[in-house]
């Protein structure tokens, strides 16, 4: 889509320049056309055409006038007897039914295709570098050590992606790799704009692969080396962020358990003191309090057990023995650009030219028939 916009802007610029210099361009074309006519006609037509151009107020009309004359074959201006009265070389039915419109269609289609193809060389080539990352399952069986990270890996990947594509993370990457900005003056710090962040997000592509065990991260850049370096950095960021995320989950679980253990412990201690006082005064509900104390003790044991498991799990994450990401195919320097697709652009140009030709044909034929009908009605 951006390629199309680029070509559109280019064609628009070309049209604007042509319109700005329409009188000069049209005058030159008309003079050149007139000079290629037979000598008997040349001076007259040059003067006549320049006068007509002068009388035209609209610049597009001037250009259309001059271009149409330029494209007309020299032979068409021949006024010898044969050309006046000879039988047309084409069968009349052909002229009657299709006239000169097929040539207009072909010419507009080919001209637009050629212009679009030519314009595609002015579009900046873009290179894509991709790193493939594999998700490696935990090397310690789940039955042996239960991981505190319960999210499936593809859900967790979503969380990791959000962190990798966060403004802070991308800002650092943009500054490190000097992306999207003109070279700043020595020592000057140029802040990263929101537009740069948005553009970087557009240039990064992230895809889960059909094997269900790996994913790809790609980066698009006009420079192949930069594309490779940034894709490599992104792959590293995914791995680093994933490890940090797992450690964070394990740490948060551990902190929660510690708080719970402290709470239950203090309640146990205060209950034990109450039971001792109740025994001393022979209180009647001492048995009930003992029962509650046993219940709390059991909960406390369970919490201690969980904390031990959690410590082992955290240790597992720190040693990178749990589920982890590894680079399967590192990013490479791309050899060929992925865009612009010149054939596609030429095809789109051809389609636009064909559409324009058909529109001109329909408008022209409908208009001429209507005028003929009106004229017939008057006579």
């Amino acid at each position: 889509m951006s390629q199309l916009m680029g070509v559109g802007v280019l064609l628009g610029g070309l049209v604007a320049v042509l319109l700005a210099f329409a009188p000069q361009v049209s005058g030159s074309l008309v003079r050149s056309r007139a000079r290629r006519l037979p000598r008997t006609l040349s001076p007259r037509m040059e003067e006549e055409w320049l006068a007509e151009l002068d009388a035209m107020l609209s610049r597009p009309s001037q250009l259309a006038f001059a271009i149409a004359l330029t494209l007309t074959r020299r032979h068409s201006f021949s006024i010898d007897e044969d050309s006046l009265f000879a039988t047309p070389s084409r069968p009349p039915v052909t002229v009657a039914t299709i006239g000169g419109w097929p040539s207009v269609l072909i010419a507009s289609t080919m001209a637009f295709a050629a212009i679009a193809y030519g314009a595609s060389f002015l579009v900046l080539p873009m290179y894509l570098s991709t790193a493939r990352i594999r998700v490696v399952p935990s090397r310690i069986p789940e039955a042996f050590v239960e991981s505190p990270v319960r999210l499936p890996w593809h859900d967790r990947l979503q969380r990791v992606s959000e962190q990798v594509l966060s403004q802070t993370s991308l800002e650092r990457l943009i500054l490190d790799a000097d992306l999207y900005r003109a070279i700043p003056p020595a020592g000057a710090a140029v802040p990263v704009s929101a537009g740069d962040i948005a553009r970087m997000r557009r240039d990064i592509d992230f895809q889960l692969l059909p094997d269900g065990q790996s994913f790809e991260v790609s980066y698009l850049s006009p420079d192949p080396q930069t594309a490779m370096k940034v894709a490599e950095r992104l792959a590293g960021l995914y791995i680093k962020t994933s490890v940090a995320d797992r450690e964070l989950i394990a740490h948060a679980s551990s902190q929660f358990l510690d708080a719970q253990i402290d709470d239950v412990r203090s309640r146990l201690l205060s209950q034990a003191a109450e039971i001792r006082s109740a025994v001393d005064v022979h209180a009647p509900d001492v048995d009930v309090e003992r029962l509650e104390h046993e219940q709390l003790t059991s909960i406390y044991r369970g919490l201690l057990m969980k904390r031990e498991h959690l410590l082992i799990s955290a240790n597992l994450e720190q040693r990178a023995l749990g589920e982890w990401f590894t680079v399967l195919d590192p990013a490479r320097v791309p050899e060929t650009p992925i865009s612009p697709n010149r054939l596609l652009i030429a095809g789109e140009g051809a389609a636009a030219g064909f559409f324009l030709g058909v529109t001109m044909m329909l408008a022209g034929r409908r208009g001429s028939f209507q005028r003929l009908k009106k004229a017939m009605a008057r006579t």
Binding site: E47, A51, F65, A68, I79, G99
Partner: protein, 114 residues
């Protein structure tokens, strides 16, 4: 006897544009740009036909009388339908009439005769 010339679709459109002007004023004169507008023809189509028809006597033309110096611009050339041209135009329209009355408008856009 009017001259018999080869009439194309575009030639006929130009004759009709002239005929409109001629019906309003028999001395009506048109310049190239006005003709292009009235007949809806491009310059590349119009001028070859104009030259051929002028040679065949259907039109006559003249330069603007004032000099370019006095006008402050190039002189324009004006074209006028001759009586022979008007006759040819009427004849051509006469041949086009029946298909229109039948409701199926398929004009013969080109004819060859000598």
């Amino acid at each position: 006897m009017p001259p018999t010339v080869r009439l194309s679709h575009q030639g006929l459109r130009m004759l009709l544009a002239f005929l409109d002007a001629f019906n309003e004023d028999v001395r009506a004169e048109l310049a190239g740009a006005e003709l292009m507008r009235l007949a809806r023809l491009s310059s590349g189509t119009l001028y070859p036909i104009l030259l051929r028809f002028e040679k065949a006597g259907l039109f006559e033309s003249r330069w603007e009388e004032e000099t370019p110096e006095s006008l402050g611009r190039p002189r324009r050339r004006f074209y006028r339908l001759t009586h022979a041209g008007a006759q040819v135009a009427h004849d051509a329209l006469g041949e086009l009439s029946p298909p229109i009355s039948d409701g199926a408008f398929k004009p013969r856009l080109s004819r060859a005769s000598r």
